[in-house]
């Protein structure tokens, strides 16, 4: 209580107000996450859960190649999706921030975010229609005379999963980059050009480094959640395009092996977090090296 009594009246009010959302997150997020950790060290014993501490689940994950394969594939898919999404999104964010009149900026952002909020399941399903054997892409290309036989490498495999996920997470990548670009002091760009830098060099030496925090945020906000999507691989991936999230879902809902599912979820979570932290660290180092 010693610290609390030193606070001003307003500070204590702020803390009191923050209490309900904080308690909610503790009860419905932190405690459940702890339960996942705990469960991953227990084992499923037919109908009940054996609560003796063991590393069996982790041993099984390490021993059976299927888990490693799925995890590797999931990380690769998330990585490619993140790269594609961020690279495709950057010019759009740049365009809205630098070339759209201020009064129309929120209209553009609104248009970009709408598809993100609407019927996720049906959107994923529709990619089947677009990429399918008689789909939009194939019938369009055949009609245009580009190909004679429908392309088959774009449905029921990893490619289809990547395209669909890249579409689903696009707005998530645009918004953080846009916010970072908006914060850039435009006079810095003028200064750079006044001092004789070309437009291209100004972009790479001034704009891009200053936009980096937004790019990093975009990378994290796409890379981490994509690992948890099981709908897209289920609908689009076919037999060879299943990911780790499908396995977690199967362990929980079909095989009733919650402890193994918990261990898999944790391994997936720790893997993405580690990669994200390394990425953030490398980025900081690279930015520091430049200034």
């Amino acid at each position: 209580m010693g610290i609390l009594s030193n606070l001003t009246h307003d500070q204590r009010r702020g803390m009191r107000l923050m209490l309900p959302p904080f308690v909610y997150a503790v009860v419905f997020l932190a405690i459940p996450l702890l339960a996942v950790v705990l469960f991953s060290f227990w084992t499923q014993d037919f109908m009940s859960v054996d609560t003796t501490f063991t590393l069996d689940n982790y041993r099984e994950i390490a021993a059976k190649p299927v888990y490693g394969l799925l995890l590797q594939r999931s990380l690769m898919v998330s990585g490619i999706v993140t790269f594609v999404t961020v690279v495709l999104a950057f010019p759009v964010a740049y365009f809205v921030s630098f070339h759209v009149a201020p009064s129309r900026k929120s209209l553009w952002l609104f248009l970009i975010t709408i598809p993100f909020w609407t019927s996720y399941l049906i959107r994923v399903f529709l990619w089947k229609v677009i990429l399918g054997y008689n789909g939009v892409v194939n019938s369009g290309l055949i009609w245009a005379g580009v190909i004679e036989e429908p392309l088959t490498f774009i449905l029921y495999n990893v490619n289809a999963v990547i395209i669909t996920l890249a579409h689903a997470f696009a707005p998530f990548a645009i918004l953080p980059i846009f916010v970072a670009l908006e914060k850039i002091d435009r006079s810095l760009l003028e200064a750079s050009q006044d001092l004789g830098e070309s437009k291209t060099r100004t972009f790479f030496r001034v704009t891009l480094p200053l936009a980096m925090p937004g790019v990093v945020a975009a990378v994290l906000i796409v890379f981490i959640p994509t690992i948890g999507d099981y709908v897209t691989p289920e609908l689009m991936g076919g037999a060879g395009g299943k990911l780790i999230a499908n396995m977690i879902q199967t362990q929980f809902l079909a095989l009733d092996n919650a402890p193994l599912g918990a261990a898999l979820a944790l391994v997936a979570m720790v893997s993405v977090t580690t990669i994200s932290l390394v990425f953030v660290f490398l980025n900081r180092k690279w930015l520091k090296g430049r200034t």
Binding site: A25, V129, F178, E182
Partner: protein
């Protein structure tokens, strides 16, 4: 100029699946593929005869409305606290509350499933879905409400206090009307997220399927796909209406707070 063309092409890419929906919803064929055959409203008629659909919609609406109210209430607390002077651990607590924004949804689903089924041993119900939806919607509500609460001039509430109002009545009479558009916007967004959420709902749904869980079931039967397209068309139309209204409210809220619009929901 090339940038503008690229941005427009990108928008078309974003909207491609949604634009296809009505095409197949009115298409007179049971297979969802090109070429289109003819115009029909049969699928919409079939939709209105469906017996289990109203139940799923009812469930989803109950969940979405409850989620919208609860997560907006939590969001108001957090956004109001966010506009107050710094207190110890303010940033880390806020970060923690915002965490579900970047957490994979399957992790939220799995962790709550373990607690509810294995630890507490209670059955799954609408409330289990609501508890998870409130968790993932609150960060979005906070982001929207921050726009309404920050830069709100504190001297206005102080004036009300000096004139003899209580803390609560000052909030109700002065601040609440100013942030009302933000609150409506936040509720609409939370409603839309909850109504559309599948990944968590699929794990936590009890005997009563939500609308997306019901749609997921339909997607497995090729014969029911045209009906799904019709349903999807209605849902997308409805979401766009809700979101447009939410955006109008959000902008009005920011204007009332006397702030420049930085755009976007996030």
């Amino acid at each position: 100029m090339t940038l503008r063309i690229y941005a427009i092409a990108y928008l078309i890419f974003l909207y491609a699946p949604i634009l296809l929906l009505p095409l197949f919803a009115f298409n007179d064929a049971t297979i969802i593929a090109f070429p289109l055959s003819g115009f029909t409203t049969e699928w919409f008629a079939e939709l209105s005869n469906n017996k289990s659909l109203p139940r799923a919609i009812g469930n989803s609406v109950v969940i979405a409305v409850t989620t919208a109210i609860l997560s907006t209430l939590l969001g108001i607390c957090a956004a109001r606290a966010g506009a107050m002077p710094r207190f110890p651990f303010k940033r880390s607590i806020t970060g923690f509350v915002m965490l579900p924004l970047v957490l994979p949804e399957i992790i939220v689903a799995v962790s709550l499933l373990i607690v509810i089924r294995q630890v507490l041993g209670i059955g799954l119900s609408n409330w289990t879905i609501i508890s998870a939806h409130v968790l993932i919607c609150t960060p979005f509500c906070i982001a929207i409400l921050n726009g309404a609460f920050q830069n709100l001039d504190p001297s206005m509430e102080e004036a009300a206090l000096d004139l003899g109002e209580t803390r609560w009545s000052a909030f109700r009479l002065v601040t609440l009307p100013l942030v009302m558009p933000g609150i409506i916007s936040s509720m609409l967004i939370a409603f839309t997220i909850s109504l559309d959420e599948f990944i968590i709902a699929f794990f936590l749904t009890g005997s009563n399927a939500t609308l997306p869980v019901y749609i997921w079931g339909l997607l497995r039967f090729p014969g029911s796909l045209p009906v799904v397209m019709a349903l999807g068309t209605i849902l997308v139309g409805l979401s766009i209406l809700l979101l447009t209204f939410a955006e109008i409210m959000r902008r009005r809220g920011i204007r009332r707070a006397g702030r420049k619009d930085t755009g976007g929901f996030l």
